[in-house]
Amino acid sequence: MLFNSYSFIFLFLPVVLSGCFLLARFLGARWAHIWLIGASLYFYSAWNLSYLPLLLGSILFNFSIAFLMTRQESGAVRRVLLLIAILVDVGLLGYYKYSNFFLSSVNAAAGTQFHIEAFLLPLGISFWTFQQLTLLVDFSAATIKEIRLKDFILFITFFPHLIAGPIVHHREMMPQFEVATYRFDWRNMAVGVVLFVSGLFKKAVLADGIAAYVSPLYADAAGGPVTLFYAWAAALGFLLQIYFDFSGYSEMALGLARMVGIKLPMNFNSPLKATSVIDFWSRWHITLTRFLTAYIYNPLVMTITRRRVKQGKKIMAGPRTTAGAFAWLVGVPIMATMFSSGLWHGANWTFILWGVLHGFYLIVNHGWRTVRPRFWTNKESYQRMMVPVGFVLTFAAVSFAIPLFRAESADAAFNVMSGMLGLHGAAMPEAIPHRLPGLAYALSGLGITFTTQSMTTFLTTGAWIFALLLIAFIPPNVLEMMRNYEPAITMPGNTSQGRIELWPHAKAPVSWRPSLIWASLIAALATIDLLALNRVSEFLYWKF
């Protein structure tokens, strides 16, 4: 059951909300909480009932581990329990998500013929596995002393974030569950509706609109080299598709949770406006970045730093950082983190390569930040010059890497990426010079060749990309516009140690408020959303 479906919007959601509000009003928050658990489990089983026992089994196992941990004074015992949980959880994830990938890689490398079983990947397994592990890590560190089963279950299964995130932290959710009334509230409902409608527009109209033009480009890439214009169309088209799709889905999740009075963390903050790759990763899939930073990057950095200090080796020292210190304290943790990120996204070498390429970008970015003060000391002039340059470089780098995320094979991805560099020449539909004879000579002079592909499709794809780029680059995002109504929560810094902050009151030129104009605009968006529901919609997250 997708958020952008008739059955979800007209059946599931009204029933769930009505049940929640009525139970909260007449029987209390506890029963509404249980109702939401039931609804969430039903939501998950609507995908595939046979995997519901797996989800429930995983929850009960991890809760049992957590319960045992709360009864242990000894940190060593808690760490052993944590290790058992990691082995089981990661083992389960590895079996369902990575065993075929591993076996096929071994077969390809060693010429063996291990049998590869074809089975359906349990939906959202990466999300709910990692969320449980974050909880257990904090139990092991004794930063959490107590948890109730019903809170644990809803934390994992809450249907707005169950399938595609945001990846929530227990410090964000448990305090909310403690005090939630789940009663109907006009403000929560209004904010929730606006978030849901705008998120649905991004997904069902913008992302699904351009998707129809992106898929054929990657189908062609699987068959051979791709020329310059088509390669850039494939890259930009998919980048925009996944941005609007994923950020739209995240906003829908925020909206749905808010309808019952729960706030989820922000997941996207206009990443395509980033002026550096470091900035990009603080804006794109923020909750995953946060998770990887807290549980892979920071622990690695701390461990390596302690070891180097013990060995008397140099550590980070600003502009005077040595190459060795940089390599070990920045390079290695970044590569390990981004390798993990790539692997988390999917069981395919293309995802790993994508992660590694972004790791390389981050290393270059961090390296530049480290050495730059040596020869460019004026911060103001640097900002003036490098912000626009950084924006262009970042956008180009992110666009260059994205075919690895979409293509079904490394060959197909390389066909697109090499095409983006112009290695396969440039071509356009012959109908263009045919209809504009004056242009034909000039185009031929530039080395552009002509194909029998559709001119209409070529131009329409270009128009879609142009329009979506304008939307991505120029206006504030929805969360910025709703800043006065706390549409999301965000946690700066280390998630294990930082405190929860509500949305900071940033300045933005356009801000939402309950008014006739906004009611009309959101109503128009809602109408378009409903009209778009019957279109074919890609679900990008089934591999996660």
């Binding site: 209004a190 209809r435 009611a519 109503a523 809602a526 409903l530 009209l531 019957n534």
Partner: protein, 427 residues
């Protein structure tokens, strides 16, 4: 404004907008689903119904109650005008149920449906060689709406046979972005524009073909279509299975309904036959016609009112000269491009079937006339090829290109002339 009022106003406006959109789409009826032209008098051809033929015609046939039903693919939709003067009064009204890109199986589904909601006195159905390509290759008969939602006439899966499917179809025609866009586009469309549109009798005005001819020139468009056709036929020639199961089922269906059936082998431009020759499937093509004759003869022996007409060949109509490249002024009389004849030729075929029309165009194929027709065809082909060396060379070059793309340079390996028919299923 408080949040409560905001939500109330938002809901009211959203509901009002949805109702307005639904009413607008109903009144304009961009896909001919509702027949609201009966109330509004708005009978302009619908440009966007052309892109949703399975949806449009599934509901149009319910209202049409035709005396003559035309079945086929785009050749029929574009080439046979239900308003043609060649149709005798006793066989009017005529409804054009041509479904572009439809397979023979889809044709059977829609004919069965049409005969369940109407009682025509005559069914005229086209069959082409490429529609009969079997399933293993890249069939030319893929449905046109492959990406549409399932379980609806819009999907082309099947015509509407249950209320849920009808609800989906009505819902799509009233409340979808496509319908809204297409309603606006319908209002902006003007007669004679360079955009194809579907008339109230299911006929396509062929505007986009006119545009291609006017802007790109006939020579360019023919070359484009020939290249596509050659690639398709060469790809199919690797396995060359023929499937006439659906034709047999259609003949049986018409017998059960007591409806006379005329099967028509519609003509492509002469290049079509030359492409079959170059691709090495000429014998297969001839055997295919023999198989069709046998299906019809067998049915006739059982007393069925079924006949088979053939209009493909090397006639003066199918060999009219193509204007030179860069000539955007000269108009062809009989063809838009290799695959599609103009309504003027369609009128001649209708006249011929109805007992009028030029005797040198078209043959009623029976076991008695079949072999003579084949001999005549062979003779005409040789004569044409002797006098059109340039055209032969042109198509030979096309074949080489297609074979190279498919067979990696082994053009000889691609050309399996005289290979027997792999399977002909006609029972």
């Amino acid at each position: 404004m408080g949040m409560r009022k905001f939500l109330q106003i938002w809901a009211a406006i959203a509901v009002a907008l949805l109702l307005a959109v639904g009413l607008f789409n109903y009144m304009v009826d961009p896909y001919w689903v509702f027949g609201s032209d009966r109330f509004t008098g708005f009978q302009r051809p619908r440009a966007d119904a052309i892109d949703h033929p399975t949806l449009a015609k599934a509901y149009m046939i319910r209202r049409a109650n035709p005396s003559t039903l035309l079945m086929g693919a785009s050749r029929v939709e574009i080439g046979f005008n239900p308003q043609s003067r060649e149709w005798p009064d006793r066989l009017r009204p005529v409804f054009n149920m041509g479904l572009p890109g439809s397979s023979l199986k889809r044709r059977f589904d829609y004919l069965r449906y049409a005969l369940s909601v109407s009682k025509p006195k005559l069914v005229v159905m086209e069959v082409t060689f490429e529609e009969s390509f079997g399933p293993s290759g890249k069939s030319a008969g893929a449905t046109v709406a492959d990406n549409a939602p399932p379980h609806s006439a819009e999907a082309g899966d099947a015509p509407p046979t249950n209320w849920l499917q009808e609800v989906r179809d009505y819902g799509f025609a009233l409340w979808s972005l496509s319908a809204l866009q297409d309603s606006v586009s319908t209002l902006l469309h003007y007669p004679g524009s360079h955009q194809s549109a579907m008339t109230g009798t299911g006929f396509s005005t062929g505007g986009d073909l006119r545009e291609a001819a006017d802007i790109d020139g006939y020579n360019y468009v023919f070359a484009l279509k020939n290249a596509e056709k050659m690639r398709r036929v060469v790809a199919w020639s690797q396995h060359r299975t023929i499937d006439l199961t659906a034709v047999q089922r259609i003949v049986t269906l018409c017998r059960e309904k007591g409806t006379p059936l005329v099967i028509v082998v519609t003509p492509g431009y002469v290049d079509e036959l030359e492409i079959y020759q170059e691709a090495g499937v000429w014998e297969t093509y001839r055997n295919w016609k023999r198989a069709l004759i046998e299906i019809v003869a067998s049915a006739a022996r059982k007393g069925d009112d079924v006949s088979l007409w053939n209009f493909s060949g090397y006639s003066a109509y199918t060999t009219e000269a193509i204007p030179r490249a860069q000539d955007r002024h000269t108009q062809m009389k009989w063809f838009w491009e290799t695959n599609h004849f103009k309504p003027a030729l369609g009128d001649l075929m209708i006249g011929r079937i109805m007992g009028k029309g030029p005797a040198e165009f078209g043959t009623l194929l029976t076991p008695d006339t079949g072999e003579a027709e084949q001999a005549g065809l062979e003779s005409a082909r040789l004569s044409y090829e002797n006098t059109h060396a340039e055209d032969r060379a042109r198509l030979r070059a096309l074949y080489a290109g297609a074979a190279h793309a498919l067979c990696g340079g082994n053009a000889a390996g691609c050309n399996s002339m005289n290979k027997p028919l792999k399977s002909t299923r006609n029972n």
